[in-house]
């Protein structure tokens, strides 16, 4: 039995999950992931992995850059080298998950209820989910986010297998075009979501700081980009808040 709420009557978890699924099918990322993972599936075929391995890597890793590293280096590098490269490529998930979960949490949400949203967090689900879930009553957010994640991961998993079987027939130009969908979607969705000074400044500075950090060849470019650009944007945001 659920407690009667002072707000609008709460939807069931199943209803919120279905809403999340529907949002996934309506998201530009559903189609972008299709394109991108067709490309990655084709690459897995080129490197002689099995189709089951490819689909499992999408479900378990759920991070295109890490999967590209794994597929292209496993055959030739030592396991330690591959593990280090994958670790370095995925640092972004720490601030993404940390920034998201307090928004999903409602009263009575247990830590284990957040494990699935944690795993679903990837660029696509994070940028769509953070925006959309924040508009919902708290009690519905976890189920909604899980629905969104399921829908988007489904798209990627199907495309992983599809690309694997299409590999031999993909002309190089099309293979390149498929991989270009992801940067374009990240650019447009970020431009759309940059409503506040803090968001816009963090993103804009990140674009400028990454090439500078990369040129210095310090390693850990993404981590430095995040810390430097994110902190500058945060400080500017705090100063402006203080002035007002």
């Amino acid at each position: 039995m659920s407690e009667p709420s002072a707000e609008s009557p709460p939807k069931s978890a199943a209803k919120a999950f279905a809403d999340g699924l529907r949002s996934a099918f309506g998201s530009v990322f559903f189609y972008v992931l299709l394109g991108n993972y067709l490309g990655i599936g084709a690459l897995a075929h080129e490197f002689n992995f099995s189709v089951l391995w490819m689909v499992l890597s999408t479900i378990l890793i759920w991070a295109a850059p890490a999967q590209l590293i794994l597929i292209s280096t496993l055959g030739t590098s030592t396991l330690i080298e591959v593990a280090i490269a994958v670790t370095l490529s995925s640092v972004r998930f720490l601030p993404m998950v940390a920034g998201l979960l307090p928004t999903l949490r409602a009263e009575g949400t247990r830590q284990r209820d957040l494990v699935l949203p944690m795993h679903f967090t990837a660029i696509s689900v994070w940028v769509e989910g953070l925006r959309l879930a924040g508009l919902l009553p708290r009690a519905e957010r976890v189920a909604f986010y899980n629905g969104l994640g399921t829908g988007l991961m489904f798209s990627a998993a199907v495309a992983s297998a599809g690309g694997y079987y299409l590999a031999a027939t993909l002309p190089p130009l099309l293979a390149a075009a498929l991989l270009f969908f992801t940067p374009m979607a990240v650019l447009m969705v970020s431009a759309r979501n940059s409503r506040t000074l803090l968001d816009g400044l963090s993103f804009g500075l990140g674009l400028v700081v990454w090439p500078a950090v990369a040129a210095m060849k310090l390693g850990l470019e993404l981590m430095w980009t995040g810390l430097i650009a994110g902190t500058i944007a945060y400080v500017v945001h705090r100063v402006r808040e203080g002035v007002r």
């Binding site: 530009v28 972008v32 992995f49 099995s50 499992l56 890597s57 890793i61 590209l68 794994l70 292209s72 496993l74 030592t78 396991l79 591959v82 593990a83 280090i84 994958v86 670790t87 995925s90 972004r92 720490l94 601030p95 998950v97 940390a98 307090p102 949490r105 957040l114 944690m118 795993h119 967090t121 130009l173 390149a176 075009a177 991989l179 270009f180 374009m184 650019l187 447009m188 970020s190 759309r192 968001d199 963090s202 993103f203 804009g204 500075l205 990140g206 700081v209 990454w210 990369a214 470019e221 993404l222 981590m223 980009t225 650009a229 994110g230 902190t231 944007a233 945060y234 945001h237 705090r238």
Partner: protein
């Protein structure tokens, strides 16, 4: 230290050097914010860092491409992104229009360069 995939098989390798080193960051994020409120200044800062890292990923994908993308000249990749962004604003911030124009410009540019 010099073990390779040939010794442990592709599935164990997927778990040990693919899934685990990737998932550790998500788990750290989960553990780190136990009990923190979304209005806390720490979370506001962490989100700014995540957004900046996302921009870094975008810069990396376009400027330092790998795989089939790397074969297409840098100026085609940058020019296509600019065309996409222009279309996005011209079509009243339509994500679909921006992505379609960006990928379209990329294909055209790459084709004209002989790919």
């Amino acid at each position: 230290m010099s073990a390779t995939m040939a010794e442990i098989g592709p599935y164990l390798a997927l778990i040990l050097v693919g899934f685990l080193p990737n998932e550790v960051w998500r788990v750290l994020g989960l553990v780190l914010v136990r009990g923190l409120d979304e209005r806390s200044q720490f979370i506001v800062w962490v989100r700014a860092v995540a957004t900046a890292m996302l921009a870094g990923v975008l810069a990396q994908l376009i400027l330092a491409s790998s795989g089939a993308l790397a074969a297409v000249p840098l100026w085609v990749r940058i020019g296509a992104a600019a065309v996409g962004l222009l279309a996005f604003f011209a079509a009243r911030r339509s994500v679909f229009a921006g992505v379609a124009a960006g990928v379209g410009a990329f294909v055209l540019g790459a084709y004209l360069m002989g790919y």
